[in-house]
């Protein structure tokens, strides 16, 4: 914890500046971090008031549990270039490992918001993937019977 970090959670990106010995500055606010005895537990103090959080750094994100809420944070060294955007905002992705049971569209098809483009099955349930907006299918990356992994695009929309 030496250099400034750029941390993004939801809509907000803040510069977080560690100042040594457990102090950090989040924007203009100074907070104090103490580590608990169990892995991932921290106590954050601000103006005499303290709250507990649990935090874990995974390969692609940092997860934080704070007062019953869960946050997934992007943590980067300040000034580092943003990492990968694995798929366009118009892509439909598999939310979890699943089997493709039907592909209802081909490249070039015009689709309307709400149309079911792909039908997945996982945990004995059907999961329809619907078009998020009126669009044209620019690519299809799967076919029926495929076992697909999460966070990969299955269909690209223009």
């Amino acid at each position: 914890m030496a250099d400034a970090l750029s941390i993004t959670i939801g809509d907000r990106t803040a510069t977080v500046m560690p100042s040594g010995k457990g102090d950090v500055r989040v924007g203009d606010v100074s907070l104090d971090i103490a580590y608990g005895p169990t892995r991932g537990e921290v106590v954050i103090r601000e103006d005499g008031r303290q709250t507990r959080a649990f935090v874990v750094r995974a390969a692609d994100a940092t997860w934080v549990f704070h007062e019953g809420r869960i946050f997934v944070a992007g943590v980067e060294a300040e000034g580092a270039s943003r990492r990968r955007a694995p798929h366009g905002p118009g892509s439909l992705i598999a939310p979890m490992p699943a089997t493709v049971i039907a592909v209802n569209v081909r490249e070039g098809d015009a689709v309307k918001a709400g149309d079911v483009l792909i039908l997945l099955e996982a945990m004995k349930m059907e999961l329809p993937l619907r078009a998020t907006h009126d669009a044209v299918v620019s690519a299809v990356h799967c076919s029926a019977g495929d076992l697909v992994q999460p966070n990969l695009p299955l269909v690209d929309l223009t």
Binding site: M1, I7, V16, G27, E46, H66, G68, M96, E126
Partner: protein
Amino acid sequence: MDPRPIRRVLVANRGEIAVRVIRACREMGIETVAVYSDADAGAKHVRLADRAVRIGPPPAVDSYLRIAAIIDAARAAGADAVHPGYGFLSENASFARACADAGLIFIGPPADAIGKMGSKIGARGLMERAGVPVVPGRTPADQTDAGIAAAAREVGFPVLVKASAGGGGKGMRAAHDPASLAEAIPAARREALAAFGDGTVYLERLVERPRHVEIQVFADAHGNVVHLFERECSIQRRHQKVIEESPSPALTPALRARMGHAAVEAARSAGYQNAGTIEFLLDGRGDDASFYFLEMNTRLQVEHPVTEAVTGLDLVRAQLQVAMGQPLPWQQSNLHQRGHAIECRVYAEDPSAGFLPQAGPLLLYREPSGPGIRVDSGVEEGKDVGVYYDPMLAKLVAWGETREAAIERSIQALERFPVLGVRTNIEFLGRTLSHAAFRAGDTHTGFIDEHLEELLERAAAADAVFAAAAAAAGERSPAGAGPAAVIPDPWMTLTNWGR
């Protein structure tokens, strides 16, 4: 019935319910045999048992649903009884019969009773004859799309389309008009086929804004039948229960007595034994409310701890006692509800994405504890949540002197239940319990849909959350320092469970 001692129980299940059964057996001096698929090698229920037998690859059809494999495992491990838990083979009459044929005590109702209640048509007829009110509905004899549509017009819209076999809402769909019915029929049929191997669908009039209130019953082989009061399970998503409580805020003593009486009659009429649950739809609240028989679950319920908390009884222990031929240890007049209990089912799912089940590693998983708190779970930090089975991680049960106290205790416990690495419904559960309508007891099975937008609202991250995220970016400590260095960590790489 003669007493038949049980010395070694095979638990034909996995996860939290297998753990629950193993603990009860151990407290009674009964040995346990766990079974596991390859996906569950080294799982909590496997490590807690006295013996463990592999029964197949991860898919349930190849393991936990394989009757022959489980009977073989019971024989190989020298078990004399089988506890089916819930789900999987628990309501499969053939399995109960296979156990009996193999000389194994099935810890549950007679195969007959499962059969009678497993058929929706048969169960309805039985209930009507026993004087228990039922919701209008039928299984169309003509199972073509057209035949089902015609039957739906007779039952009347809105209508529910669901699997004739099995319970739990799998394959269930509501249709408010013929157009939506046309979409619902093939989907319900497909899911019924996939889940139960039987695509027959059943139609039922949809009661609007009903409560789901069920009565726990218990019967022994000596003709004793009691009920253990109600559980309200109205908070559902995807037709599956999320939050259950007892007492129900909708019941009055008179209504409770009527429903309890109906449930006991229902169980009696089926020749029932052991633990079972009569599910009712409740229309209205208070003395004048109407209730309709929905179905009977011929097994222990997921939500049985709610009943245990308010009645002060151990249902699994009683299941074992009844299966051994002992009389029920309780009499109706000695049973009482005390205080209030709430169960929250913690799922690996993303509420903001239609409660989509999630899979992934439990990078951090810490259960809350404290007075009045009980957590039943089968998962552990460092393990993966897989795609093969139900995504329920844990059941958090909180008991309090009053409903208000139980709600507050649940909320506080959820705030001390960090689960990271997989999205869960923990935040959603907290928002549901905090919602004014829930606090007011104004619940119905459409509660989540009705209030969904509010329940999905997300607070902005406080500065403390940014600080916590920064804390995890700290440098790795030098090896060899700190208490963790005292022990070498084969736990990090070795497991020896795969064989």
